[in-house]
Symmetry: C2
Subunit: 196 residues, 2 copies
DNA sequence: TCCTTTACGGGTCACTGTGCCTCGTAATGC
DNA sequence: GCATTACGAGGCACAGTGACCCGTAAAGGA
């Protein structure tokens, strides 16, 4: 007989789960639970049960709720935050910010990401995880690279990304309503004016 | 004999506690615990014990950790986020953003506020609480009113506040390091250029 | 002044989530 | 075919929650 506590994964994700089935079931269960019962009411026990999986199986491959959430989130997030290029810089930025708003307010992956940001304020480990993933930064940099030609006076790229996404994100994190389309347009216009 | 479960407060804060002593002890204990053990490890039991107060006394006047935290936070926050006016608009905004950064990264009240924003991602009730308090919005509007004369082209005031504080706040919430002074200066310069 | 009212500190209790362990079982790989 | 490994399921000790109940002490009205 073999114990359940030997094998690989020390902290989190050394080897992939032997059964892809279990992995997918857990990630899918987390997505479901997040929209069904919310983050606060989501428990490891609940995840295991919803996934039709033993609790130990969950603990074996992920050490925290946050880890599962991040993995479940990254799968969809990159795709949802990638917008097709548009000829006009203002259109391009606006499309991105609209997608970002949609992502953070309605997409399951976006809700997961917000839950992660929330958890990051309580737990430095999660904070590093979120920062490492760099979801916002990466997608923003993609868009910014495209509009660089129309904005010769753009400052440090990190600052630009923060200026672009910061107002939108903070609004969503701290108030019940995101910035409306009208203000997104005004925001983009102001940024381009500043960077011109 | 009288039960402990009659009296006033339904949800949160109908009447003031009869003993100001208990109230102050609890708020002080929360401040201490937050810096000592962090938000995650802070429990209602721990708060009561640290405050030298019965658990029931805590539950009587506040229904959640978040409520206590918010009250403890608001006491100091408004003062820490109020910066003296400066003649130059750029100086004025920069001083505010520097104070905001200091607040969110080092002040106990700021740490409490961040913990609240974190909790708000998990709990809509806390979200409303945070929004109601409107800490960021209020302090930002104060500063913006002062620079309005130097920036005739300022858009909607809500957007301005978001543009001013959003990048700073999001950076702090999602990465280990806040925006450095150098980038704060560049940010202010860009905003004034956009609003001119 | 007495005496009712009210909050107080402290303790108990049922309930829930966690994370670890141990079953017996099923799938994998040599 | 046989050893290895992950699997599901359940049990466990521990901690936090939030409700109760107790006896005490401090207001406030007569």
């Amino acid at each position: 007989m073999v114990s359940d506590t030997d094998h690989v994964p020390p902290g989190g994700k050394a080897g992939r789960p032997r059964s892809e089935r279990a992995r997918r079931a857990v990630l899918h269960a987390v997505d479901d639970l997040l929209v069904d019962v919310g983050y606060a009411a989501m428990t490891m026990k609940g995840i295991a049960e919803r996934a039709g999986v033993g609790r130990q199986t969950v603990y074996r491959w992920w050490s925290t709720k946050a880890e599962i959430l991040l993995e479940a989130c990254l799968v969809d997030a990159e795709e949802e935050l990638t917008t097709p290029p548009r000829p006009d810089a203002a259109d391009d930025l606006l499309a991105y910010l609209t997608a970002l708003t949609e992502f953070l307010t309605t997409s399951p992956a976006g809700l997961a990401y917000r839950a992660l940001i929330g958890e990051a304020q309580h737990d430095p480990v999660v904070r590093d995880l979120v920062h490492q993933a760099g979801l916002l930064a990466l997608s923003a940099h993609d868009v910014l690279r495209r509009v660089r030609s129309s904005a010769p006076n753009m400052p440090d790229e990190c600052l630009c990304a923060a200026q672009l996404t910061g107002p939108v994100v903070t609004q969503i994190l701290t108030t019940p309503e995101p910035l409306p389309e009208r203000l997104l347009e005004a925001h983009v216009a102001a940024l381009l004016r500043a960077w011109r």
